[in-house]
């Protein structure tokens, strides 16, 4: 994954090869290349600009100690900033409550049903939970079948009401069922 982005970033760092320290002049090209790499990766221009400005601020004036090259230092700075951009530390996943209710939303074809199966598998095998899958898609009957098959594969229960066209009622009934 992300091969294109990786390659472009890598070539951006090459510009700094052979430099003994980072200054405004020799960093300009690298920063430009990083920004271009991000925009090519379909990152919003505003975000890319802000990102490279931060990288530049951090890099200029950073003293390069003998052991590492400016290129390596740049990699480190970009790594820190990328981590920060994607959220810093991992986010907690809250599954407390009786029952813990997880609502999964998204556009058609984005992979909700498949993800639901995977999440059930994760909760069951790694967290020792016994999830109840609820089919609240009232427009696509096949989604219920798909979820039923997935539930069977994972070995968890599923709740569905094929005739009911009221998604809210299905959800409420399912919670009752889960508590029972």
């Amino acid at each position: 994954m992300f091969q294109n982005l990786s390659e472009k970033l890598e070539s951006a760092f090459k510009n700094l090869k052979g430099e003994s320290r980072i200054n405004d002049l020799n960093i300009a090209n690298t920063v430009k290349d990083i920004r271009r790499a991000l925009i090519d990766a379909d990152v919003n221009f505003k975000i890319a600009k802000e990102f490279t400005d931060k990288v530049k601020d951090k890099a200029v004036g950073e003293k390069v100690i003998n052991a590492i090259s400016p290129g390596q230092l740049m990699v480190k700075i970009v790594q820190d900033e990328l981590t920060e951009l994607m959220g810093g530390t991992e986010a907690a996943f809250n599954i407390t409550g009786n029952p813990a209710v997880i609502l999964i939303a998204g556009l058609q074809g984005s992979g909700k049903t498949t993800f639901t199966g995977k999440l059930a598998n994760y909760l069951k095998s790694q967290k020792g939970k016994s999830p109840l899958l609820v089919a609240a898609d009232i427009y696509r009957p096949a989604a219920i079948d798909q979820l039923t098959v997935l539930a069977e594969q994972v070995g968890v229960d599923i709740y569905s009401e094929r005739e009911n066209k009221d998604a809210v009622a299905i959800a409420l009934n399912a919670i009752k069922e889960a508590k029972a």
Binding site: A41, I47, L82, M86, E90, A105, L107, G111, G117, N121
Partner: protein, 240 residues
């Protein structure tokens, strides 16, 4: 959209996950914004990440909606779901590999009792075809070979254009599967007529079977050498 908002109001979920196809790039970010306005979700799930060569969605979603990415998902198989770690992802993007995830995947498959048994067998130079088959299957359970190798620092770049066939082990598996339990446990028992039968059973010819046997013997020799090394010569991976 109204429905999902109604459901949210009715059931008061502990987590609301917004699922989005990462290949859609900026569109993914825009939909996320729209959903967040209506739903105020608690986390994002990026799906189909295996097909995303650019990474725009992964990089801009957090910034745009200020909600964390909680899971990433790739592929159809049920166990291809990963908790999202920004730091590891950054390392992967920069071609540094992701040893932490690799180790975790290995640990998930690691069976201490079995490993001990295997170590004993190797020490006594009794490693047989069945053990070999078990090992192959364990590696396969960890996932797609190319993905796994890409997690080793530096390797990802080197193999990006190489087509690694996940079926590479299939032939070997077929050969071992065509053996009787007795043959698997006694690699020396393979007489020409047994080999003939195995060849038929696995769709290989005798030369291929001989080549595999030779490789297997060499592997055993290597293990023997390591056993005879001073300091116990334990295999690094076998410790614990």
């Amino acid at each position: 959209m109204k429905e999902v908002a109604d459901i949210k109001a009715a059931v008061n979920p502990t987590e609301i996950l917004f699922v989005v196809d990462s290949m859609t790039g900026q569109d993914a970010v825009n939909t996320a914004k729209a959903f967040n306005d209506r739903l105020d979700f608690s986390g994002v799930v990026l799906t189909k990440l295996d097909g995303d060569t650019r990474g725009g969605a992964a990089l801009s979603i957090k910034y745009t909606v200020n909600k964390p990415i909680k899971f990433v998902s790739s592929g159809e198989k049920l166990d291809t779901l990963d908790v999202f770690y920004p730091e590891r992802m950054a390392q992967r993007i920069l071609g540094m590999g992701d040893i932490t995830t690799l180790v975790e995947k290995a640990q998930a498959q690691y069976d201490e009792v079995q490993a001990k048994k295997l170590e004993k067998k190797i020490r006594k130079n009794q490693f047989d075809f069945q053990d070999f088959l078990d090992q192959l299957q364990q590696i396969k359970k960890m996932g797609n070979l190319k993905d796994l190798m890409g997690m080793i620092p530096g390797v990802g770049k080197a193999i990006k254009d190489v087509d690694i066939n996940d079926d590479a082990f299939k032939g070997i598996e077929a050969m071992i599967s065509s053996m009787t339990p007795y043959e698997r446990a006694n690699p020396d028992s393979l007489t020409p007529s047994r080999k003939q039968r195995i060849a038929k059973g696995s769709g290989k010819d005798i030369a291929e079977i001989n080549a595999f046997m030779k490789q297997f013997e060499q592997m055993k020799q290597m293990m023997k050498m390591m056993n005879n090394m001073p300091m116990g010569g334990r295999l690094p991976g076998m410790r614990r």
